[in-house]
């Protein structure tokens, strides 16, 4: 079999398939649900409100516009932390499709990641509303935000492929990921700012594949700062490394994964 090219990797010629898979994901998730897709907006908003109360009033965190600060990180974090576990289980859960019709396995994972990206985009109005409330006016540094969302999406898709493939062979991964994501959230500047990290722990940011991206979410929206070129290099290195690793694994395991399900 020929190798999957990057154009195929992003299902370039299978848009109708992607459309159908995404629409199925949404229908399955929100069928019989009263609030439907509104939940994806509600969850980061409520989470942000809870953290706001705790960190602002109890721990007295000194970050300006702290609620907006929280939202700017929590919305992409919600995307990442729901897409990765669901992507991990996606191949196993779609046994019925994979085993009976020829369907490119990465299309399922790509559709899963895109479904969550759609949810993230729906939460953007909440972010804009918070900006209006806090009278934070648009600045040029904010154009980094969508760019960083794009990087985060590529990393998320890569993790969906890597974990999704490994999960077929190693079913404990599901539970490991649940724990990993908890640790990961505290190891990522979502609720706190990167300046609060003690100097001797700064390396955690670079080692964390999404660490620098989340620094960027805060700085572009609330800090009115540009990420340094070194920070962009760190992000680019992680994005490229994970993309190539996932593509390599996909090409290696693609032909034998269905019979292992």
């Amino acid at each position: 079999m020929s190798k999957t090219s990057f154009a195929e990797y992003f299902c370039y010629r299978r848009k109708f398939l992607l459309y159908n898979l995404i629409s199925r994901n949404l229908k399955v998730r929100y069928r019989h649900s009263l609030l439907g897709m509104f939940w994806t907006v509600l969850i980061p908003a409520v989470t942000a409100a809870i953290f706001y109360v705790i960190f602002n009033y109890v721990f007295k965190v000194q970050i300006p516009h702290y609620l907006l600060f929280l939202l700017s990180g929590l919305i992409p974090w919600t995307f990442f932390s729901t897409a990765v576990p669901l992507g991990t289980e996606s191949l196993v859960n779609n046994y019925n499709l994979l085993n009976k019709v020829p369907i490119p396995i990465h299309a399922l994972l790509y559709a899963e990641a895109l479904t969550h990206l759609l949810n993230l985009l729906l939460s953007i109005p909440v972010l804009i509303a918070a900006m209006v409330i806090f009278r934070v006016w648009p600045t040029w540094t904010m154009i980094q935000y969508p760019l960083l969302v794009g990087f985060l999406f590529l990393i998320t898709y890569s993790f969906c492929i890597i974990f999704g493939l490994v999960y077929v062979y190693f079913r404990d991964l599901k539970h490991i990921i649940t724990l990993l994501l908890q640790l990961w959230m505290y190891g990522t500047p979502v609720m706190y700012s990167s300046e609060m990290i003690p100097q001797r722990f700064r390396w955690v940011l670079a080692v964390n594949p999404v660490g620098t991206i989340f620094v960027g979410f805060h700085e572009s929206l609330v800090g009115n700062k540009w990420l340094t070129s070194q920070e962009y290099l760190t992000i680019a290195a992680w994005v490229l490394f994970l993309l190539f690793l996932s593509k390599y694994m996909l090409n290696k395991m693609r032909d034998s994964i269905v019979e292992m399900l």
């Binding site: 898979l21 019925n96 499709l97 269905v258």
Partner: protein
Amino acid sequence: MSAIEFQNVTKTFKIWHERPDSIKTILADALRFRLNKGLKEARTVLRNIDFQIPKGDFVGIMGRNGAGKSTLLKLMAGIYHPSEGKLITKGRIAPLLELGAGFATELSGYENIFLNGAILGFGRAHTLRHLNSIIEFSELGEAIERPVRKYSSGMLVRLGFSIAVHLDADILLFDEILAVGDIGFQEKCLNKIRELHQTGRTIILVTHNPDQVEKMCSRCIVFEQNGILFDGDPKVGVAKYRELFQ
């Protein structure tokens, strides 16, 4: 011109005996100083399969349970891939393997038509064009709006078959699925298959029904012990198939 060409294809599956796939079992084994890595063994399901099916052929495939027929179809459909050798297919393939072939069970029959069309590689316009004939042929009526998980096996076959035959695939694969529908629908399906054959489609039918092979197929392949026992005239093939059980 051949539609399907098997070039010395062998298919083996890796089998793990008591494969330790959770940390709990690995830990339990390690505690007993018995690190069980799982016995890996290769089970050959098809060995050195070499044949070709010209475009427009109607091939009946017969053989005992476990002879490798379903694996053969999954290879043709591109769900499995050869372990050795090469497999070339030309044209779009509509596989109808087992019940509920590739349905998303939570979606309605109607929604599954589009999903299936997309999976087979067709676009929205193409699927829409054939939508009415698919629904009409399936005779599902209002049930088309119901989620597929509530379908009976007969209804699943009706929907699966209607989708597979109406979307203009070049090659159609059927795996013993017709036996589930009632006689009326079976007849209708067989007539539809004949009609597709007459318009030049390549058809591969796995069946245990000798009459179907004798009456409809232009060629019969009998499988036995992971290889081809007979390949040729349907009447002779059916006789060979019957001999297997004497």
